[in-house]
Symmetry: C2
Subunit: 331 residues, 2 copies
Amino acid sequence: MTTIYDVAKRCQVSTATVSMVLTNKGRISDKTRKRVLDAVSELGYIYNQAAANLRHKRSNSVGLLIPDIVNPFYAELIAGLSGYLEENEVLLFLAHTEENVAKQNRLIESLISQNAGGLILCPAPDTDKQFLSSVKHRGIPIVQVVRQCDDAISDYVGTNNFLGVQMATEHLIRQGHRHIAFVGGSLSSQTRAHRIGGYMAKLLEHGIAPNEHYMVSCKASRADGASATHTLLDAHPEITAIIGYQDIVAFGVMRAIKDRGLRVGKDIAVIGFDDVPEASDSSPNLSTVSVSARKIGEAAGECVLARMRGDSANIKSVIFPPQLCIRRSCG
Amino acid sequence: MTTIYDVAKRCQVSTATVSMVLTNKGRISDKTRKRVLDAVSELGYIYNQAAANLRHKRSNSVGLLIPDIVNPFYAELIAGLSGYLEENEVLLFLAHTEENVAKQNRLIESLISQNAGGLILCPAPDTDKQFLSSVKHRGIPIVQVVRQCDDAISDYVGTNNFLGVQMATEHLIRQGHRHIAFVGGSLSSQTRAHRIGGYMAKLLEHGIAPNEHYMVSCKASRADGASATHTLLDAHPEITAIIGYQDIVAFGVMRAIKDRGLRVGKDIAVIGFDDVPEASDSSPNLSTVSVSARKIGEAAGECVLARMRGDSANIKSVIFPPQLCIRRSCG
DNA sequence: CTGAAAGCGCTTACAG
DNA sequence: CTGAAAGCGCTTACAG
């Protein structure tokens, strides 16, 4: 491995000079600079950023912790984030927590140990706030995305879940639906609480009494969405509309409806949440609450980098307004 | 920031002792060990792995470079890889090359500079072999996945593309199809060359002359798959079957067929490649060549870690056999 | 404009 | 069983 020292020896200067050339600091004569640069390429020297970071007590990487890489919503988020980081020459650690707090904690420790300068976290259910605080106290900025385990603990980038589902519910009610179900999400999820809140608030606003049997939780997959829907419709055939907690669940809901010989959008209306790419491509294509995951990723990147660079403004939340995207699945 | 030095001072031992406790090396008396461990938790000390790595000339992170995070195939691959790495306490850098060689090169340099100990690369088209060789000469192991820019340059984990498409083509021919098209992939792609090779070989085997107008390339998205299909069917209405280069393209193919008022699986058969999760969920669900992206991810992880740990066996290829998965989209 | 030297947080042979 | 000291590859204040 060739180091700054080899380069220095090769062109008869000190390592300080080489370092200054490499980092564009101090005044170096053009001849010296050229000598150094030539030696660099002749030797195939690669700058050791990790060593520089150690010396600097600085970092140029951030860690992203997400619960479910297979959900295309997160793929979009990563696309937005990684593009932003790349422009800023910051590297991305990706950690897959799989909704498991213990794993999440382990991964956070590893990331810090590995010198990630900031963390972007979509917290697993029952995330330990104490633990997050202790990370913050170590000076590692955290920004929560999509989900928020506690309001006042860190910056947050996400959408207005309450409003999003309100819009969806309102639309269904205006279409004449009265038996509207809500499928998906895990019981302990704050995000689900907000979404269900929007759903119930709209029902009440229109004088419809929320029926607790119409709200079922399930895991974030097509298969779970489908089986939850079968159970639900077996018990409550009067239901004419279903809001999916996430698109991925809504896809399962649609499949179940079709498997029962019913028509999505005619017999039962479906609306999802997220607007993943497939939503515009399914049959029928899925009406959904659109949240630009890409923008969330970008904004989260912007936010951590600012904090890493010393921005010490008050904790803030960046909330992107949701948009209702009406397609064929709701008639 | 608390260091090994603070811990040492707190329990009146040397930093060497603390280091040994932390890494479970040397003989440390139980009392001393306990003293150290207590101090560690009292001070909230976090081991600086990056510093240890510098000292060791070692690394516990690998970089993954992928061209298209939004394609669910890669999400699956990441799931497999990240699970394996996590078990081995290795961190993952994720780099998104977006099919751009210049960006890919920049990212590779950054990853090395950042002390990634190995690279898993799904090479962008026209990847520079020279550049990859120079990386290898620096002692950074590379394993190529899914695509291979050159046979002899590094380990490779992927599937048998030729065979996979042969199986698909064979199936269609047996169903009686004679006008079979192939949609997708970029012209410079080796992988596409292999897949098209399998397609043509099977046609020839059955005495069907390949028609160059039946092979169209397009970008890896639903929208591009759809528009390529429209153009194709406008010019060649006699076509009764289409093989999609990837599932994501095949979804677009299906959409175009439906938009033309034709029935997928009845009027035109469709087969994809990859078997992403949506394939079993689309309407109709998509017949496809199944390649376990998850397994590829895992195997690639296994392979780089082995190399990082000094395995110097000859370059090898791990080829997973493709499986034809017949569903409704091909009748 | 350039060099000598200390130090980032850790490890490890070498003494004792 | 434990400590003193050199060194991983870089940077930076201080001289000159």
